[in-house]
Symmetry: C2
Subunit: 195 residues, 2 copies
């Protein structure tokens, strides 16, 4: 299983945004929606071995984590707007505990800490950062969680939390890419490996 955890520092945690304004009023939710696209979509297929955790830390009720499971997900389309509708629907239904909002989409009040605690026992955790080990030289496990930030870096506190759980810091090169592009590159790299 390939898992991607993306932290949205300003992304709204309540459904108080318009689908016409995902890049503005939703707190750059558009960044996270493109990550969902990159994680799951193949040409005419969905990656059933992928999972995405969007950790929403913006107003009004943070944290909220929206989870997409490739093995179960339905009604997922590549465009930002329709995926935004799935996230908004999840936020409308979510509160305490883990709730299934639509097939393969779940919402919870999990924090970044909670998500890492849940995923750590499941396999390798990899922090994607510019100054890590080059990915092509790095041993990756089949069960792996890649952790990324949105358009802002992880905060020092988030970074400390993550680095307390893994020493695997991996780089895609000296150039800093958008989070969704990082996921596409990682998926391609994983596709070239045999497990």
């Amino acid at each position: 299983m390939r898992r991607f955890v993306i932290v949205g520092h300003k992304a709204h945690s309540t459904a108080d945004f318009k689908l016409d304004d995902l890049a503005g009023g939703a707190g750059r939710l558009d960044v996270l929606l493109r990550c969902v696209n990159s994680a799951f979509f193949l040409s005419h297929n969905i990656r059933t071995d992928a999972e995405v955790y969007l950790v929403l830390l913006g107003p009004e009720a943070p944290p909220r984590t929206v989870r997409f499971l490739g093995s179960e997900v339905r009604y997922l389309n590549p465009d930002e707007r329709s995926t935004g509708a799935l996230v908004r629907n999840a936020l409308l239904k979510g509160g305490k505990g883990l709730i299934k909002s639509s097939p393969g989409v779940y919402v919870s009040d999990q924090s970044f800490h909670d998500v890492l605690q849940e995923l750590a026992p499941k396999g390798q955790i990899v922090y994607l950062r510019e100054n890590g080990v080059a990915i092509r030289d790095k041993e990756l496990q089949k069960d792996v969680t890649f952790v990324l930030s949105d358009h802002k870096d992880l905060t020092p506190e988030e970074e400390a939390e993550l680095e307390s759980m893994t020493k695997d810091v991996v780089s895609l090169g000296p150039i800093s890419y958008h989070a969704d592009h990082c996921i596409t590159i990682v998926n391609h790299e994983m596709d070239t490996r045999t497990f």
Copy 2:
């Protein structure tokens, strides 16, 4: 210079679509808009050494080609909707000949054939296709044009046209990816090379 030519077989060539319906009424223009994002965006930067040619073959006035130049472009944001607005604006202004619709965005009535004829003298042309030579084993020039199709394959006629101009058929592996993901992977591969 890295150039990307993407053929949109159903993408509308007139501005008769709504920005709320880019994946539907605009003939899967969303696919092409994501290609623009993949070609240009770095974290907090734009690739000034990239150019994109969107060849629009859908109704009502095909062909139209919308060209983005990274060295000149302004008002380009990563989300689909705002890039869709730039394309719609170009189509509103375009007709015969080459017209600049906004900084770094040009529209013309060039066909796929015309675009290839224009780009062939500028350097290597590469056809991205599943059954080509693995990209990591392929010599790529600094001045290179990658040709891709939207969610449909090139037609036999388009493929014949392209293959009459280049023998460089390059693959990203056995898995078939979305066009925008292909561009992200190609850009990353090019970033690892020294020219």
